[in-house]
Symmetry: C2
Subunit: 698 residues, 2 copies
């Protein structure tokens, strides 16, 4: 369940019309999250005798889709049926649950079409077209630095995206994506599905069997799947291109391919940037998540309803903690860092040897300087623009409303990017989605995060004094939550519609708080963008030129939550020196079950045990190079048949943010045969089984 | 409240008869935790015209005392009255509290002698004699490594300590202390007070006013004091040597001296050892404490009784977190590490230049290899010998009982050191002290720590499988706590007295658990001692020789929870570029109070506000070089008068574990005048005020 990218910033897909290509220094046979225009064809032909043609590539592109909130999916029927992970529909299950009715716990089956339920705010994007806009950016930002650079880049982005969306067509989404850490920029146009409904999800006890202890591990026994359906004009959308299920699945050693949207890798970062992650960002996030976990576990022990609320959030915190701890271990590994240092030294030496790269020589030091600024502002940035002091949906809504009111009166190109015309719809949908919140739970989270703000900034920090005044975190949190009406989507709608006048007149305490703290948050955001991000991007453009000049045209950019293919094969690995076989079987699930959470099977499985084929393959590992965002990616064979469903990596995959290690790094999938077997024998989901079988390989 | 060394391992004091002296590379004017035989006399004479003679030194030695559990104290009357910090009597207050009667919250005053209450298990040690036993160790361990080295050192230690205690005299305590990370060993004989009673403690709301937010910060307004009294044969002990109180206190710039027991510094460690702290130990402790804090804060919000239990533990966790985070920041500072690297390189270069030091050249690499072994075993070591999976007093008691039964049948020299004859009494007292535990709270902590064990070792780890079986952490924790009778001190006494037969026959589930896991815990402890600690100590002996040859005889050893003097002056500092004055006044307390925890003053202070002199100096900072263990140290002037009570360091002091930075590092004290003023005007503790005034300077 790890390969989910929670709350992504706005980042786009990558597709087929790229012309340029850049290079990194090393690539094992299986390494790479490849753009569709630049597949490792020589390796594929030589190693597997596989030569994908344009038709194959286009079919894959149209059969895959991105979940805007940070997962991957694929179409699995002509009638708009979408396969993804249980953990990708987890927040939808939470949003549709109510006290006394916990859909995460019970699972969900729409036995009839009309029982399919809309997921609040969910959006799917299918890639349609890509345009190289690098030249437009280069022209607009030529000779600019700092604030001027940021403004020019934002304005260019807004202009290109607006033109692409072409008015108010809500079925089109356009995003500019920055590749190679700034080495190229492309404009992506998607078909946008905004009516996405839940058709099936198993109980979380089998969707995430083994819970946090088994997360990122293998052998594994998870039915981490969910089925959605895209609707248009109130009816299931037609999706003539889809991946047919092949229930036989792959064999050991067979070539398997993922078509998904890896969220973010940091393989091209400089050593100074990696050290900043190691010393500042990762420890900070881990300490925060550790304390959140302690709080949520204890809160969840206080009653059934508290447990429902806590578990919904806890799952992501535990997942994030495990990911980041694995990343930190990688960056603490002296050998990994020595390798990064020597790669960087070689690159700098190469640049120094070429007169035409003379202007790039300062790039690494520029980045190092920017990271020092970042280290200096990081704590305050987290608590102003990062809003870490306000762990509650109320504040996020208030911030969006306050900023929208101020930004919407400006020309699109001068707004904060998330309020530019092309992005406004997604921002609005996120704000207005009818997500339930529990005031008592919000008080607990908010009080904790206000105390964190005081802890990390100090009791005498001006922001802390401004926010807390003479109140304790608990007192202030209670006053804010008791006084707000933002939990009601209609109130949010009215404030959105009312604009600046409505915001100015509002007495909602969260609106007042967001207004009062907005100036400092914007100032720090600007400093971060101008003195850190703009410098890093500028310098990364230069480094990309060096890399390109040095190593040619056979490489992939860092992940950007855009469509990538990875090629691997079904293959076991060694754990503590012992070989681990590549497949598990359904029978093993019952052997591992203890009856105690998180190893307790749901009643549906216990009842169906005799009917299930114990030898049916259940989960499997492959050498595909994936990362968070790949959750829900189809695992296909060379014929474009869906043979599995990516849902996790093993522990050895966690360093994948920084480098790919073929010996240890494995992707974990649900076997296609187990999907059909359990939908049929455990859930008796006849309608969905028939629909899947209609397109399936026999 | 930070300068408290919680749960120390057994480490001894350091005193006046040392002959040898070693050196470090740098020393600012104020740097140093000096042994009494090796004071920085030249600096003191030159800078302050102060030349302490033997009588002065002996008086200081006899007027100070160590709290065996990890604090410093001093005698302040001839009748056994002892001054220390509120946070040093905090656990006594907790032990004497019961549901509905929270002495931490209410404070405690014995207005009459017979109201003084014994603190369970508390022990005070006053230094009597020191003997250099380096030669005995050198002879016993000559040519030995690994297990042979460990056994020879343990046997020598047991033999020397036993001979020193001289039979079963319970008023004598003897400890061998290892100085200079192994460069010398000395035997310390103490007078031991085992009947220590509480006379006074203020409410925690003023004892730790400002709570965690203000901890390690300044300006400060804390009455972090407590009064104890040592008894012998049921009557107050006579303590003719004590520090008279000087209520006028010191002036800015005046020389002030601490006489306390700094617990542990790491200033002489090699770079490999510092990197291990930075990469492994500190992050591990911080992540654990962060999650514990989240849990305890939430548990404490569930009710008054839960709050009482949680706060008792939370204070130490918050304190430890702040200390360790400051230490981590220091070790993450590239400049600090560069300086350590260059110091080490210079030392190695010096060793290489001297033929007589040829045998020391491998020492640094030996230590680096030992740290690699440590990194490899650290996780399992923590959960076996470290018992981190069992966050409950029950397990600690069970472990002690199981091991005592096995060890006591061996000759003293072959036992684990904590069970050797000379140490046995302290171990027994700790076990049998009547400390109340709350079963419901123990279940919560234990379940959490069992889940941690599974998280960090993995669900399939042999130890995890052995301990948990098919049970969840919650189920097992409940079964263990419901089944045990170890909460009753009489049961522990019976099992201690019954020895091996009683343990073998016991069906107590904690005894069974401790028995079942003991072999693996002992095996890992042995590996740690033989392959890590023995190697490090051996190599440190060699490095100490190099240091001594290079820099002469003007330096202090790393702190070892033994008596040290530090010399400093009352002096402010700069915080965020702004000057901070060295004193606060009582009036400022009322200005800082908000009425909300942890800035809420107790009713006693609110009632007494008009009577109190607002201009009375309250807290103050000085440049004394202190660290955890110095809590409760007297701050004296050159005439041996008590002018303040050390209770904290500022944020700049947290890096003091690794180096002393005179610009930033400050010790924080309660002013002697504030002690008398508040005992009189707020607490009307007339009896104690009279006693203090009887010896005081007028």
């Amino acid at each position: 369940m790890p390969v989910f990218r929670h709350r992504p910033s706005i980042t786009p897909l990558l597709g087929v019309t790229l012309l340029c290509a850049f290079t990194s220094l090393t690539a094992s046979a299986m390494e790479g999250m490849w753009t569709l225009d630049n597949l490792p064809k020589a390796t594929l032909a030589q190693k597997y005798g596989f030569t994908p043609d344009d038709a194959w590539v286009n079919k894959v592109m149209h059969s895959a889709a991105r979940m805007a909130s940070g997962c991957s999916t694929s179409f699995v029927s002509a009638g708009g049926l979408v396969l993804t992970n249980h953990h990708c529909v987890d927040s939808c299950l939470g949003d549709l649950s109510r006290p006394g009715q916990d859909l995460r716990r019970s699972g969900f089956i729409a036995q009839r079409p009309e029982e399919e339920r809309q997921c609040p705010g969910m959006e799917l994007n299918r890639l349609e077209q890509i345009t190289d806009v690098s030249a437009a950016f280069a022209q607009a930002t030529a000779g600019k630095t700092g604030q001027a650079y940021t403004e020019a880049a934002n304005a260019t982005r807004a202009r290109l995206e607006s033109a692409c969306v072409n008015g108010q067509d809500a079925t089109v989404r356009c995003d500019v994506v920055t590749l190679y850490q700034g080495g190229a920029r492309h404009l992506y146009r998607y078909h946008r599905y905004q009516d996405v409904r839940l058709a099936f999800a198993p109980e979380v006890s089998i969707g995430a069997f083994g819970g946090d202890p088994d997360n990122f591990d293998f052998p594994r026994y998870d039915l981490d799947m969910g089925l959605l359906r895209v609707y248009e004009n109130g009816r299931p959308a037609a999706t003539p291109e889809f991946f047919p299920l092949n229930p036989h699945g792959p064999e050991a050693g067979e070539l398997v391919i993922t078509a998904g949207n890896p969220g973010s890798t940091q393989r091209l970062l400089t050593v100074a940037q990696l050290e900043t992650l190691r010393d500042v960002d990762l420890p900070g996030r881990l300490l925060r998540e550790a304390e959140q976990r302690g709080l949520l576990n204890q809160y969840g022990s206080e009653g059934t309803e508290q447990n429902r609320l806590a578990q919904k959030t806890l799952r992501w915190i535990e997942n994030g903690f495990k990911v980041q701890y694995g990343q930190l271990e990688t960056l603490r590994d002296a050998e990994v860092m020595a390798r990064k240092r020597s790669e960087e030294a070689a690159l700098r030496q190469f640049a120094a040897s070429r007169p035409e790269l003379k202007d790039t020589l300062g790039a690494w030091d520029d980045i190092a300087r920017a990271t020092r600024v970042y280290r200096e502002i990081q704590a305050h940035l987290s608590y102003t623009e990062g809003a870490q002091g306000y762990w509650t949906d109320y504040y996020g809504w208030a911030r969006t409303l306050v900023r929208a009111a101020a930004e919407r009166s400006k020309p699109s190109g001068e707004r904060l990017p998330e309020f530019a015309d092309a992005a406004l719809l997604a921002t609005q949908r996120h704000l207005l989605a009818p997500r339930p919140v529990d005031p008592a739970f919000e008080k607990v989270k908010l009080a904790w995060s206000l105390a964190q703000m005081r802890q990390w900034l100090g009791a005498d920090d001006p922001l802390v004094r401004q926010v807390l005044g003479r109140q304790s975190p608990q007192t202030l949190a209670s006053a804010l939550v008791d006084g707000t009406t933002l939990g009601d989507p209609k109130v949010r709608q009215a404030l959105w519609d009312g604009g600046a006048a409505a915001i100015a007149a509002s007495q909602d305490p969260f609106i007042r708080l967001a207004l009062a703290t907005d100036a400092e948050a914007r100032a720090l955001r600007a400093r971060h963008e101008n003195e850190v991000k703009a410098v890093e991007t500028r310098a990364a453009e230069q480094i990309a030129r060096v890399r390109f000049a040095r190593t040619g045209t056979s490489v992939y950019p860092d992940a950007t939550f855009s469509l990538r293919l990875s090629f691997g094969e079904i293959q076991g690995f060694k754990k503590n020196g012992q070989p681990v076989a590549p497949f598990t079987e359904i029978g093993g699930t019952f052997a591992r079950a203890t009856g105690e959470d998180p190893f307790a099977l749901p009643q549906s499985w216990l009842s169906a045990q005799k009917a299930l084929n114990p030898a049916q393959r259940f989960n499997m590992v492959s050498t595909n190079d994936i990362i968070g965002g790949n959750s829900g990616s189809p695992l296909i064979n060379r014929r474009g048949e869906l043979v599995g469903l990516i849902f996790d990596g093993n522990l050895g995959s966690l360093g994948g943010a920084y480098w790919y290690d073929e010996a240890d790094n494995r992707a974990v999938s649900v076997h296609a045969g187990a999907i059909l077997e359990t939908l049929d024998k455990v859930y008796h989901a006849n309608r969905l089984v028939s629909e899947l079988k209609a397109g399936a390989v026999h």
